[in-house]
Every structure is written in C-alpha cells, then in structure tokens.
C-alpha cells in the first residue's frame, strides 16, 4: 500500500475535480447551445442530466438491456424530453420575452423533477461502471475507470460539436439563427426548427452527462437544480455563449470545488460554485473567454 502523501492528496483532488468539472462542462455546453440560438438560459438543463442517469438505470439495471443498447436509447428518450420541453413550454408562448421564457424553463424543471419523483421515488440509484471498478493508481492517486469515460465523452462531445458547427450547413444555419434570426429566415432557415434542434442537442448532451456520472455519484430525482447552478456557474465563468469558455469554466469550477472540499471543508462544496459565480459577476461579468458585448443581455 502506497503512503498517502500530501502531494498524492492534491493529485487526487485534481483528478476528482476534473472529472466532476467535465460534467459541469457538459451542462455548460448545453446551456450555451440553447443560449446562442435563443438567448434563453434553460434552467431545466440539469433535469436532462438527472433524466439521463435515471432512465439509464431503468433501462440497463431494471429492464436489463445491455449497455450498448441502453446508452443510445437513453439519449434518444432524453432528447425527446428536450423536444417536448421546447414544444410544450417554449414555442407555444406568444410574444415571448427572454425573461418569460427563462421563467418557463424554471417551471418546466420543477415539473420534470416532480414527474421523476413520481416514477423513481426519492432514493438515489446506482449504475454499474462501464468497465468495472478496479482503480488505476497514478502518482498515489486513485483513478476510477469511470473517470476516464467521463473525460472521454467530454472529448467526443467537443469533437462532434466542432464538426457540426464548423463543417455542416445545419450547424452554420444554427449559428446564423444565433446571430440574426430575421436574416436567417430570409435565406430559408426555419428558425423554430433550429430552436427545437438546439433543445434536442442540449438534452442529448445532458443525457450523456447523466449516464456517465451516475456510476460515480449515483443519481436521484432532485439533483438537477444543483447541476444547473453548477453548469450555469461554469457558463458565467467561461463567458456566456463561448464553447471553449464552457469547457474551461466547467473544469476550473470542478477543480476549485474539489480542492475546496478537500482542503477547507467538504460541507461547503456547493458554496464554492456560488462564490465563483458571484465573484465573476463582480469582477469580470463577461467571463474568461466571453466578449463584453455578449455579456450585456441584448433583450433584457
């Protein structure tokens, strides 16, 4: 047995922090996709993560579907939930202001949480790790194989999204809607479809976050709100609307939280995100990588 040194402790905090941070980054990316197209902060973003975890538990553990079938099926079901959110809560609102839409997402998140409690109850659920729970040792720190899955999926998401936004005409059309919806509709883009697509993509990414984190930290019906706050903290830290900012913000936030919990007090874990959020809003509201222009809400 290796001796636990202070250095190996720090290493452990870093690895745990980056893992949790990867999840925050995924939530933050989801926020940004919707924000960029609609200027809505979708506070139901965390519910997608919760649904991802719990639906995966249901399909894989309770229904016994193999991992490779349950994984995509879960993503599809959560994506459908995202589409329903747009169709039932967002697109029916006449003469929407950004503020009413944001309030609609908060209302939706409460409803989704209620439905989840009705279906799954209040207990947390576990999910088998994708490739077992034999830890890998690195410089005195313990790495669960699942940590690597989390990081790996963040990388996959980033690669796929980069390809989507840089190389496909639909991705460009989404960027066009984000920039100028009227001009976008003048070239034949159906802006409502793009909004629906943004909710679908965000939901799918949320599902991946939920599926990959559940084997590490379990999942229960009311986890969404806190995840949304953490993801939003990451968004603000990185700069509203910026994808590199979302990743950086998520990883930094996760790391701060992990070091704070380890070195100061684990009871304050959730407070660190809020402290960071407030500090950024006071010191540099545009975030690390955001443009000052974007940080002024255009339609508020």
């Amino acid at each position: 047995m290796e001796k636990i040194t202070f250095a190996s402790q720090l290493m452990q905090y870093l690895i745990t922090g980056l893992t949790v941070g990867s999840i925050y980054a995924m939530v933050a990316i989801g926020f940004n996709i919707i924000y960029n197209v609609t200027e809505i902060i979708n506070f139901a973003q965390g519910e997608f993560v919760m649904l991802g975890g719990l639906i995966m538990v249901f399909l894989h553990v309770a229904a016994g579907l193999p991992l490779l079938a349950a994984f995509p099926l879960t993503i599809i079901l959560v994506t459908l939930a995202g589409m329903l959110l747009d169709r039932l809560a967002i697109s029916p609102i006449r003469q929407p202001s950004v503020l009413t839409l944001i309030i609609a997402t908060i209302g939706a998140s409460i409803i989704i949480k209620g439905i989840a409690m009705f279906i799954w109850g209040k207990d947390p659920f576990d999910l088998p790790a994708f490739s077992g729970r034999n830890p890998i040792h690195l410089m005195g720190a313990v790495i669960q194989p699942q940590y690597l899955w989390v990081g790996g999926f963040l990388i996959i998401i980033v690669i796929l999204l980069t390809f989507f936004f840089e190389k496909t005409i639909i991705g460009k059309a989404m960027s066009a809607c984000a920039e100028n919806p009227d001009a976008a509709s003048l070239v034949g883009i159906n802006v409502k479809h793009m909004i629906l697509l943004s909710f679908s993509l965000s939901a799918a990414i949320g599902a991946v976050a939920g599926i990959t984190i559940t084997p590490i930290s379990l999942m229960e019906y009311d986890r969404g709100a806190m995840l949304a706050i953490k993801g939003f903290g990451a968004v603000v830290l990185g700069g509203l609307g910026s994808f590199p900012g979302a990743i950086l913000g998520g990883l930094i936030l996760g790391t701060i939280e992990s070091f704070g919990a380890g070195l100061i007090h684990s009871g304050y874990k959730d407070a660190f995100a809020l402290i960071v959020l407030l500090a950024v809003l006071f010191i540099r509201p545009s975030g690390l990588l955001g443009s000052v222009e974007v940080s002024k809400f255009k339609r508020f």
Binding site: K172, D182, A183, S185, L186, V187, G188, I189
Partner: protein, 237 residues
C-alpha cells in the same frame, strides 16, 4: 409578377402601412422612394414574411402569399436584401454565401450551388478574394455586395432591395447600381426601396412615392423625376 392591394400593417396598434397598393411587372425595376420612417422597410418585410400583422393582399404570380412564413416565401423565389445588410457578421464570407443557398443544400442540389456560386463571384470578384474573411471585417460596400450575393444564391426571380445605397460612398453606390441593372437585364425582377431618390428613379421604369404609410404618387420614373413635388421634396429642389 407582384401585386400588392390595400396592404395594412401595424406595430402593436400603430399603423405603419395604411392601405398600400403597388404593382411590380415581371422583368422590371420598380422603385419606391420615401423619407426615413415612411414605411418602406415595413412594406418589404411584409412581402418577405418577416411581419405578420397585416390586412390586404400580396399576390405573387397570382397566389396570395400574405401571412406565410419568411422561410416559405424565399422558397417561392422572392429574396430580400435587408436594410443595413444584416450579413452574418461572425461567419466567413463563404459561410454567408453557402447559407444563401441553404434551400439548395437542403435539397442536396450541389450542381445548382456550384453554378450559382460561380455566377455570384463573377458579379462580385472582390468577394472571391475574401472567401475566408470574417464577414464583419469587410468594408461597408463589400458587406452590401455580400448581402446581395447571399440573396442571389437563393436564385430569386424577384429581388427586394432595402436601401442598398445606405451609408456608402458615391463611387460604390454607382458600382452596386450597375450590378442591379445587370441583374435586371439577365431577367431578375427588382423592387427597390430608397431614400436616395435620384439614383432610384434613374434606374427604375416605374416608381412610387411613399409618405407616412401611404402611396402619394406613382407613375413612370422618368415622369416622377420631372414632377415638381418630387423635385422639391426628394431631389433637393
């Protein structure tokens, strides 16, 4: 080709168009001149579907298109070059051009896109040299060219132009109007809206004068150029 009858449009309850009737015959350039706030942009937005609250008829090739969504109206062959260019400033010139052909991408019509692109770059060679540049960094004149090029990628039969001369130096304005003429000669019908009355009347066959939401004068552009009222109000005496 386009026949607008008694069109009314409102912002909330304030009328911006109070029963406007305008006809655009196929193959022509028709100009609408009017001061700032007359309702010119509102009229074009109503035609292209960006504004919904309206009464009256907008007949394009004998079908009523009033109230249809903007993305459906482009597909019928009506493209608008909006006031102030409205290019996608954060995307590249090439992306803007590609998005202009969005409907053809959707139909996977690559051959059509390539053909349009070479036509557009022949019309605006400067854009071809700037394909990788971020559109927002172009000069005002180049942005206007890009806005026109983007609209042309949709292969419009009717092109709506909202103040293409706005904020541009006279030399550039001349260049852009030369292109407008050329487009018209190759068969595109054009509805042009301008505060720059002289340039707009010189290029058009028929023209209308719009004042606070109403058409107050109409006729051959050459007659309007000689009309004393037009001279006094729009051509500087």
């Amino acid at each position: 080709m386009l026949k607008i009858e008694k069109l009314r449009a409102y912002y909330d309850t304030i009328p911006a168009l109070k029963g406007v009737s305008v006809e655009v015959p196929e193959g022509e350039i028709v100009s609408i001149i009017g001061a700032n706030g007359a309702g010119k942009s509102t009229l074009l937005k109503a035609i292209s579907g960006l504004i919904k609250t309206q009464q009256g008829r907008i007949a394009y090739k004998d079908q009523d298109i009033a109230g249809r969504a903007a993305n459906k109206i482009v597909a019928l062959g009506i493209s608008q070059v909006p006031e102030g260019r409205q290019i996608f400033a954060h995307l590249t010139v090439q992306d803007n051009i590609n998005l202009g052909a969005y409907l053809y991408f959707k139909r996977r019509n690559r051959a059509e896109i390539a053909e349009r692109m070479s036509e557009v770059y022949t019309l605006f060679p400067i854009l071809k040299r700037r394909v990788k540049q971020i559109a927002g960094t172009l000069s005002g004149g180049e942005q206007q060219m890009l806005a026109i090029a983007r609209a042309l990628m949709g292969r419009p039969e009717l092109l709506l132009l909202d103040e293409p001369s706005m904020g541009l130096a006279p030399l550039i304005v001349r260049e852009i109007f030369a292109v407008i003429k050329k487009l018209n000669e190759s068969g595109t019908t054009i509805l042009l809206v301008e505060q720059n009355a002289k340039t707009a009347l010189n290029v058009a066959k028929h023209a209308f004068v719009l004042e606070t939401g109403e058409i107050v004068l109409e006729g051959l552009a050459s007659d309007l150029l000689d009309n004393p009222k037009v001279k006094e109000a729009y051509l500087g005496g």
